[in-house]
């Protein structure tokens, strides 16, 4: 079984030996993934154009960020995986230091401190941790024998918990959960035993009640309650969900037509160009459009999983798997939130929502994915 797997990989490896190096290989670009990402980014800009109404500058800004992000992706793809692995503790430590700095010197709005400002430049350190955490976890597990022992699991969870706790303090529960998820995915894929998974689920359920009472802030509780009864306060907390459901539902199968969405064009839909942008697409393009978008995401995820399967080492495998699954979580949480399945958490729809930093982090992640996909050739050479 195992040897057949090994043999199975040989012809492919051999073929890369035989064929002359193509441009994509020389530049460490995974062409199917690049193609899918370009299509998605294009769709994103088109939807954003409709969602931003008269504010054309949103689209221009997003196009600039997307270009930068693609450049960033290409750069990230050039860096050898070995570099990421070796330097992972330092990325991680630097990221955590920045998070601590945010707690003391951070700036922000609406009661949350999330940004660091240096001169005229403003950035969100938690974005960097979105990559630093899975890299650190994958690197940590790479050196351990797998499946992970209990001690290894405790070590991994510690790596995850420190930045997650720091981000919760900002407070930014959504990002914190996503970062924790990326680390946990790597741990899970490394072969975490089902017993431990089961135990963790039981513990999580038991912790839910005390968490509700002491752990969550009032607005967070409100969002969760709103999920179960959105009609209770239509003009207040339930407004967003009420309006986004009306937008999506009234789109029907065919949609109301591009730029014709009454909910989105007439300002009924809040945050229509950021977190709730899928409602604009679903209203104007109907369920057909929503399915096409979901299919695009599915293909990207499938490609990511394929890359993770093909990876040479544990590090590359876990990192690619974690990045891909985290990407899926973004998609699911965002769409689940907008369609009223999940509470409102500030998670943008990847590559479609307006927002610079998240695009750059995402694309850097895909760059690493491409580095994984081209790694074995480098090793074989």
């Amino acid at each position: 079984m195992a040897s057949r797997d090994y043999m199975h990989r040989l012809p492919d490896a051999g073929s890369s030996l035989r064929r002359p190096e193509s441009i994509s290989r020389r530049w460490h670009i995974d062409l199917p993934l690049l193609f899918l990402l370009l299509v998605l980014a294009g769709v994103g800009l088109v939807v954003l154009y409709s969602a931003s109404g008269d504010e054309i500058h949103y689209v221009k800004r997003q196009a600039v960020f997307m270009s930068l992000a693609f450049v960033g992706m290409v750069i990230a793809a050039q860096i050898p995986l070995e570099f990421y692995r070796r330097w992972s503790p330092w990325f991680y430590l630097a990221g955590c230091c920045l998070l601590v700095a945010v707690l003391f010197f951070g700036v922000g709005a609406k009661g949350a401190q999330r940004w660091l400002q240096i001169g005229g430049f403003r950035f969100q350190p938690s974005e960097a941790l979105k990559l630093a955490v899975p890299i650190a976890v994958a690197a940590y597990l790479h050196k351990r024998s797998l499946p992970p022992s209990f001690i290894t699991v405790i070590g991994t969870l510690t790596i995850i918990a420190i930045p997650a706790a720091l981000i919760v303090r900002q407070p930014d529960l959504g990002t914190s959960i996503l970062i924790a998820a990326s680390g946990i995915f790597a741990l899970y894929l490394s072969g975490l035993s089902w017993k431990m998974i089961g135990g963790a689920v039981v513990m999580a359920l038991m912790a839910a009640w005390p968490m509700w009472i002491w752990g969550l802030r009032e607005y967070q509780k409100q969002r969760i309650l709103t999920l179960f009864n959105p009609d209770a306060d239509r003009l207040g907390a339930g407004w967003n969900i009420f309006q986004s459901k009306a937008a999506i539902g009234s789109g029907g199968w065919d949609g109301k037509g591009y730029m014709q969405g009454t909910q989105s064009q007439l300002d009924f839909l809040p945050e229509s160009h950021t977190d709730f942008i899928i409602a604009v697409l679903a209203e104007e393009w109907g369920m057909r459009g929503a399915l096409i978008l979901l299919a695009l995401y599915l293909l990207i995820i499938a490609r990511g999983i394929y890359i993770s399967f093909m990876a040479q080492h544990v590090f590359g495998r876990l990192l690619a798997g974690s990045i891909t699954l985290t990407f899926f979580v973004y998609v699911f949480v965002n769409i689940g939130m907008v369609t009223g399945l999940l509470p409102v958490v500030g998670v943008p729809l990847p590559l479609v929502s307006h927002g610079g930093t998240s695009v750059i982090t995402l694309m850097a992640g895909f760059g690493i994915l491409m580095a994984v996909s081209t790694e074995r050739r480098r090793v074989l050479f």
Partner: protein, 644 residues
């Protein structure tokens, strides 16, 4: 770690990874399936519901109020116009903190406590998302200040609205009346249909023609479907059903005649009514003092209202249709005709007048107004000319009250004239049955002596006297008095209520008697015809003021003034082809012939000095006037010529 072990580990790790990843793929597929199912549920299964929700969100039906019908006088002069006025309104649902918003608005425009108070009351009975007016009649400056600050005043808007404007101010306050804001009292009387018709409309006719023709003036409400954004701002109109404007009223009233009558009355309290003899159309309708109806349109201030309400001269009181005064001797021509028709007297009947009268078998002495009497041979014509009381007492003693009641009723006394104005009072002409019913005592012969002189129980409004006079001038045709000549250009035909049958020579006698009032040596109303080159027939009267209503606050001088008799004069002209009948009342004027008659003269002078096409209405049914315009020297003549 040996090479072999590493190799083995590698395979275990890969197997574990595949295993976990397959589970994860399963999870991804399931969750994506959940999303697809969710989209299906929202967009296909519940499509209709959400479609409706989204339409309700953006589409609102807004009523479009109709334009209120305009009112013109007979010559096309505007008496009631609509002018734009700017109103500050608030949509409660769009305002987060109402108190803060109102406080901020108070810094931008002048807001009195009363405005806020009224606003709060309006808030109680608004429909959802309906703009509620906070301040009316914004100035240009105030509009500018609000639009500058509009961005931090969500839910606040300035709306242009057409409001009623009465360009002639006081002149037609009692006839045209006024509109006011729809009040609680109006609302409680509304039917379902009214509620629908008044959607979007802010005012309703309160007084005068504005009230009596409310149904026609209002028009039919329209509506439009508008698309709004989440902040309630109207983005575009999707569908519009235009409202139907209210009917346009053309009145019989003549602005210039109204002015002349008002000026002739001067600062005296009283009433002047002029009626077109051939149609019953009311040409002048003066009740003095008057008030500015524009004050009421968007809500009168408490100060203005109490000033009007508490004034001793009661300017809000419509003397023409609500003032019930004893008509006095102005009834004599009608009574004379009644006596002739009933055969009680003839043209040859002569009565000696020693200055007093005694009923047979009664010791009580009734004194004529003239101490020494009017001579030994007073006939009907002299009886009218000199207003001889004894002549009519003698007639009344030989007649009976029911006969008098009958003729008075047919001339329109004692019941509403049926004019197209609201809240008319009927006056009173007594009868046997009335006295038994109302007072519980039988009729005494002395009551008849009072009644024939328009005293005692008799009460009439100036309008009733004008109708009575016009009926005499018409030789018996009693038209219903009419304010409105045409509705939307459609002429309103005159309506005959009664016809009084009497022989032509009876009418001639009454005409001669009334002419003698103006022209004979001892006539009491000579001032009515002074300097006119057509003949006037009239009758003076005085009405005793029995008491005064509220006498607490004025000094004895004023008290004395208000104890004086009311002066009355009724007349028509020209005698050979009567065109216009006039009734004049001057409160506390004392002398009908001295004070009221000159007012009638001014009205005749103005009306008869018009060129034919000016006085004759443009409506075809009207008989052409038989006299040409005289009085070249009349000052208005030139003006008319220039206008023509």
């Amino acid at each position: 770690m040996s090479e072999n072990l590493r190799f083995k580990d590698h395979h275990t790790e890969q197997r574990l990874f595949r295993n976990r990843m397959l589970v994860a793929i399963f999870g991804v597929v399931v969750l994506l399936g959940v999303l697809v199912a969710r989209f299906y549920n929202l967009q296909v299964v519940n499509y209709e519901d959400y479609r409706t929700q989204s339409d309700q969100n953006r589409i609102q039906v807004r009523p479009v109020p109709p334009t209120r019908g305009l009112i013109y006088d007979r010559n096309g002069e505007m008496l009631a116009d609509n002018r734009p006025s700017y109103t500050l309104s608030v949509v409660r649902e769009r305002v987060k903190d109402l108190d803060a918003t109102i406080e901020l608005l108070g810094q931008l425009v002048s807001l009195e406590d009363r405005d806020v108070e009224k606003f709060n009351r309006r808030l109680q009975r608004r429909r959802p998302f309906e703009p509620v007016p906070l301040r009316y009649r914004l100035s240009e400056d105030e509009i500018a200040r609000i639009s500058v600050n509009e961005f931090h005043l969500p839910g606040v808007s300035v709306e242009a609205e057409l409001v009623r404007y009465y360009p002639e101010n006081k002149l037609f306050a009692h006839s045209v009346g006024y509109v006011g804001r729809i009040a609680e009292r109006d609302l409680s009387a509304f039917t379902e249909e009214d509620v629908r018709r008044y959607r979007g409309t802010q005012s309703i006719g309160k007084v005068g023609l504005e009230r009596s023709y409310e149904d026609l003036l209002l028009g039919e409400v329209g509506y439009e479907n508008v698309e709004t954004n989440a902040r309630g701002r109207v983005l575009r109109v999707l569908e519009r059903h235009d409202p139907k404007p209210g009917a346009e009223l053309t009145l019989h009233l003549d602005t210039r005649l109204q002015q002349v009558a008002t000026e002739a009355l001067g600062d005296k309290r009283g009433a002047v009514v002029a009626i077109d003899v051939k149609t019953g159309g009311v040409l002048a309708f003066v009740s003095q003092p008057s008030f500015d109806p524009n004050l009421f349109v968007t809500g009168i201030s408490f100060k203005d209202y109490s000033a009007l309400r508490d004034s001793l001269d009661v300017p809000l009181f419509n003397r023409v249709v609500q003032g019930q005064y004893p008509p006095g001797s102005t009834l004599k021509p009608m009574m004379g005709l009644g006596g002739l028709a009933a055969g009680i007297i003839t043209g040859d009947t002569e009565v000696p007048d020693p200055g007093f009268y005694k009923l047979p078998n009664d010791s009580r002495i009734y004194r004529d107004w003239k101490r020494w009497g009017h001579g030994k041979h007073v006939d009907l014509i002299q009886g009218l000319a000199q207003s001889c009381d004894v002549y009519f007492w003698d007639m009344a003693a030989r007649w009976n009250i029911d006969g008098m009641h009958d003729i008075a009723t047919r001339f329109g006394l004692g019941e509403k004239t049926g004019i197209d104005l609201p809240r008319e009072y009927p006056g009173l002409f007594p009868s046997r049955a009335w006295k038994r019913g109302a007072r519980g005592v039988p009729w005494f012969p002395g009551d008849s002596l009072n009644a024939v002189l328009g005293q005692g129980f008799v009460l009439s409004t100036p309008l009733q006297l004008a109708v009575m006079t016009a009926t005499i001038a018409n030789r018996g045709t009693h038209y219903r008095p009419q304010m409105v000549m045409a509705i939307d250009g459609v002429e309103q035909p005159p309506e005959v209520l009664h016809h009084i049958d009497a022989r032509p020579e009876h009418w001639d006698l009454v005409f001669d008697g009334m002419e003698a009032v103006v022209y004979s040596t001892h006539g009491t109303g000579k001032k009515a015809g002074a300097g006119l080159d057509f003949k006037v027939a009239g009758k003076s009267g005085t009405a005793q003021v029995v008491g005064i209503a509220q006498g607490e606050r004025y000094d004895s001088e004023a008290l004395k003034e208000r104890h004086r008799d009311h002066a009355l004069f009724v007349a028509f002209a020209p005698v050979d082809d009567p065109q216009i009948a006039v009734s004049v009342l001057v409160e506390n004027g004392e002398s009908g012939g001295g004070v009221a008659a000159p007012v009638a003269r001014e009205v005749f002078f103005d009306w008869m000095s018009r060129p034919l096409e000016d006085t004759a209405s443009r409506h075809s049914w009207r008989a052409p006037m038989s006299i040409s315009a005289p009085a070249q020297r009349h000052p208005y003549q030139q003006e008319t010529a220039i206008r023509g």
